[in-house]
C-alpha cells in the first residue's frame, strides 16, 4: 500500500504552475479583448447584434468585460478584424469602470490595495464562497484552485467552511431571487472588516441571465465590491493573479 502511494506520488511529478504571472495558455484561449485603432465601417452593427450579452457599444467601440462571456463571436464576425481576443489572462480589476475595454486599453490590472486593507488581509486570506445561482462553472474553477496544479494555498489564500472564519466573500452567479436572502445572511455572518470578490461575468453584471425575472441584484446597491474577476468561467490563474496584484503578494 505505502509503496503504491509512493509510486503515485512519483507519477505526479511536478505538476504545479510555477510561473503564474506568465503561464503558457492554449492558443485558442480567449482572454483580454484587444480593439484595434481602426474605424468601424459605417452602420456596421454585426458585433452588437451577435453579442449574446449586450456587452458591446459603439462610438467609440467599447467592450464591457463585465458583461462579456468571452464567446469570441464578435471577433469572428467583424469584417475588419477590429476586435480580437488575446491570450492575456490578467483580467481582474478593482473598479467596475476599468472593465470597459476600448482601443486605448492594452492591459488591465487592479490598483494596489490600501495600506489598511493590506494590513488586514495581505498575509493570510480566508475566503467564504457563496454560489448564488451560477451554473457550477465558476465553482469548478474555484475548486481547481486548490488542486495540485494551481495550489492557491501556497500564497496563504484558502477557502473556509464557516463565514465566521472568513475575511472575505467570493460571490459566483447572477444572484437569483431564491439565493438573495441566504447570500445576505452569509455576508452578515462574516466578521468585519471584510472584502467582497465577484467571480465570473454572471456575478459582475448578470451575464447571460441579466434579463431574467428570476434574478435579484439588490445586494449591490448596499455593498461595495473590492475585486472583479471577469471570465466565463474565470480561469484559476486570473483569480490568483487578481489577488496577487491587488495585495501585492510575493509570487
Amino acid at each position: 500500500m505505502i509503496l503504491d502511494a509512493i509510486k503515485l506520488r512519483i507519477l505526479q511529478g511536478d505538476p504545479i504552475v510555477h510561473n503564474v504571472k506568465n503561464a503558457v495558455f492554449p492558443k485558442r484561449f480567449r482572454g483580454l479583448p484587444v480593439i484595434q485603432d481602426k474605424d468601424c465601417p459605417e452602420n456596421c452593427r454585426q458585433c452588437l447584434e451577435i453579442c449574446p450579452n449586450q456587452a458591446l457599444s459603439l462610438n467609440p467601440l467599447t467592450l464591457d468585460l463585465g458583461k462579456c462571456s468571452l464567446c469570441g463571436q464578435c471577433a469572428e464576425i467583424c469584417p475588419q478584424s477590429i476586435i480580437d481576443f488575446s491570450n492575456d489572462y490578467h483580467l481582474a480589476v478593482n473598479k467596475r469602470e476599468n472593465l470597459f475595454i476600448s482601443k486605448s486599453i492594452k492591459k488591465i490590472a487592479p490598483e494596489k490595495a490600501s495600506q489598511l486593507i493590506k494590513k488586514y488581509f495581505g498575509q493570510s486570506l480566508k475566503l467564504r464562497q457563496v454560489s448564488a445561482g451560477g451554473c457550477n462553472g465558476c465553482e469548478l474553477e474555484l475548486n481547481a484552485l486548490s488542486n495540485v496544479n494551481f495550489d492557491m494555498g501556497r500564497y496563504g489564500v484558502e477557502f473556509t467552511a464557516s463565514p465566521r472564519h472568513a475575511d472575505g466573500i467570493v460571490i459566483t452567479g447572477p444572484i437569483t431571487r431564491n439565493m438573495a436572502k441566504a447570500l445576505e445572511i452569509a455576508y452578515n455572518a462574516l466578521p468585519s472588516p471584510k472584502i467582497i470578490i465577484l467571480m465570473g461575468v454572471c456575478a459582475i453584471s448578470g451575464g447571460v441571465f441579466q434579463d431574467s425575472k428570476e434574478i435579484q441584484r439588490q445586494f449591490f446597491e448596499t455593498h461595495k465590491i473590492d475585486l472583479y474577476m471577469p471570465g466565463c468561467p474565470t480561469h484559476p490563474l486570473t483569480f490568483i493573479n487578481g489577488l496577487l496584484d491587488f495585495f501585492e503578494k510575493k509570487e
Binding site: S69, C138, G173, A182, G207, V208
Partner: protein, 489 residues
Amino acid sequence: MISLKIQNAEVFSISQIPFLEKKEFFDSLIKELDNGLRMIGFFPPDPALPQRLVAILSDSRTSFIHIIGGILDKREFESLSSRFPQVFNFECELFENYGFLPLNHPHLSPVRKENLNGNQPYAFYQIQSNEIHEVAVGPIHAGVIEPGHFRFQCHGEQVHHLEIRLGYQHRGIESLILKASPSKKILLSESIAGDTVIGHAYAHCQAVESLSETQISLRAQTIRSIAEELERTAMHISSLGGMSNDIGLAIASSSYGRLRTLVINSLAELCGSRYGRGLFVYGGVRFDFSKEILKTILSNLKTVFQDIAEIHKFLFSSVGSCVRFEKTGVVSKEKAEAMGLTGQAARSSGIGLDTRIQHPYGAYRYFPVLLNSLSSGDVFARAFLRTLEIEESMKFIFEQVDSLPEGRIKSEISSLPPDCAVVSMTEGFRGEIVHSAWTDKKGALMQYKIKDPSFNNWLGLSLAMEKTAISDFPLCNKSFDLSYAGHDL
C-alpha cells in the same frame, strides 16, 4: 394505444399528435408506463392552449419516443405518482409551472420555488416520534458547492428519510431561451450546467438543427462526440477525485485532480475554454482540429490513460475505500426502475440505459460505444462504473482521432418550420439530457423544455440514504455527483 412514435431528434408536426379526451389520455399513459416506458416530459406544449398536455415517454427496447396528447376540461387530474413514482417530480413541476393540480398526490412539493402556494410556507415531510431528530443542511454548504437544502429525519446515526429541496439556482432558462437570439440561445444552453456544457449545447443544437432540417457533416459530428467524451472523461475523473477526498485518500484525490486538468486543458486546446464553451454553433462546430492541437491532446490523453490505471488500482485495492464504498447507499434495481433513474446512477443499479446506445445520435450512429453496467447499486458500483466509462470514452476518442472524416465543420442553417416539434436527447456524463422544442404557427419557439438527468436522479440520492448513516451522506452525494443548476434551470 394511441400515441405518436418518433425517434430521437426526428421532427414531427404538432398536428400528428392525437389529442385524446382526459380519460382516454390517462388510460393510455398508464398503459404505456405499465409497459415499462420512462417518462421524459410532461407539460403543455402551447401556452395559448393551456388545457392541452403532452406526455413524452421513451422506450429503451425499441428506441422509439412515444408522445401522447390530452385535452383536460379542468386543470386537475388524478395523480399517478403513487402507482408510478417516476412521475412524482413531473407532476410537481406541472403544478408549479402551469397550475395543473394532481389530486391525491402523495406529497405535493415545490420544485424550484420556496413555497407551494404563494406565501403559505411549505411543510417538510416529518416523522413524528420522541426518538427521531431532524437535521437541516443548506442551502449554503461547507465547501465550494452549489446551494441546495437537505432535510434528514434521523434515528441516531441512521437516516430514515431525506427530503431534498432545490431551486436556489433557478435562473429561468426555459423562458429566456424562447426569446433569445441564436447566439444567446447557445450560450444559455451552455450555461444550464457548467459541468455539462457539451451535453446540453449538443442537445440544444441538435434540436434546432433537426427542426430546420440542417445536415451536419460527419467531421463536425465526430468533433462533437470527441468533445462530449472528453467532457465525460473529465467529469468522471473529477467525481472519483471527490469520492477519494471524502474518504480521506489524499494522494488518490490529488492524482485524479492532476489528470482532470490534463483532460479539460485538452478541451481548451480545441475550443479555448476548459469546459468546452464556444465550441457549438448551429450547423456544426466553430473550431477544427489541427495537427498541432491533435498532437497536444493525444499526448495529454496518453498520460491520463497510463496514470489513471495506477490510481484506480490504488483506490480500489485500499481496504479503507472498500469498507466505505461497498454496500453503502444501496439503490436496488427495482427501486431505481420505479423512480425512473437514468444514466450513470441507473447503470450502477443494473439498468442498461444509455442514450448513446438506445437513442443513438450524431457520430454514435456510426461508431457505437459499449454499454457498461454494474448491479450492486452501491457507492462502489457508482465509483467503479466511472472507471469503466472513462476507459470506454478514451478508447472512443483514440479511435475517432485516428480516423477523423474529412469535410467542412459548419453548414448553413435555415429558419424553423411552423407548428413543428422535436425531442432531442443526448447522453451527458450524468445521463440522459432531453431538450424538447415546439414552434408556433410563425415558426418561432413557443415552448422549450429541458430535462437534466439530475431531475430524475436527486430522488435516487434520497433513496440511497434510506437506512444509511448520516455520516455517509457526503460520500453518497458525491457518488451521484448531481447537478443543482441542471435541476433548477
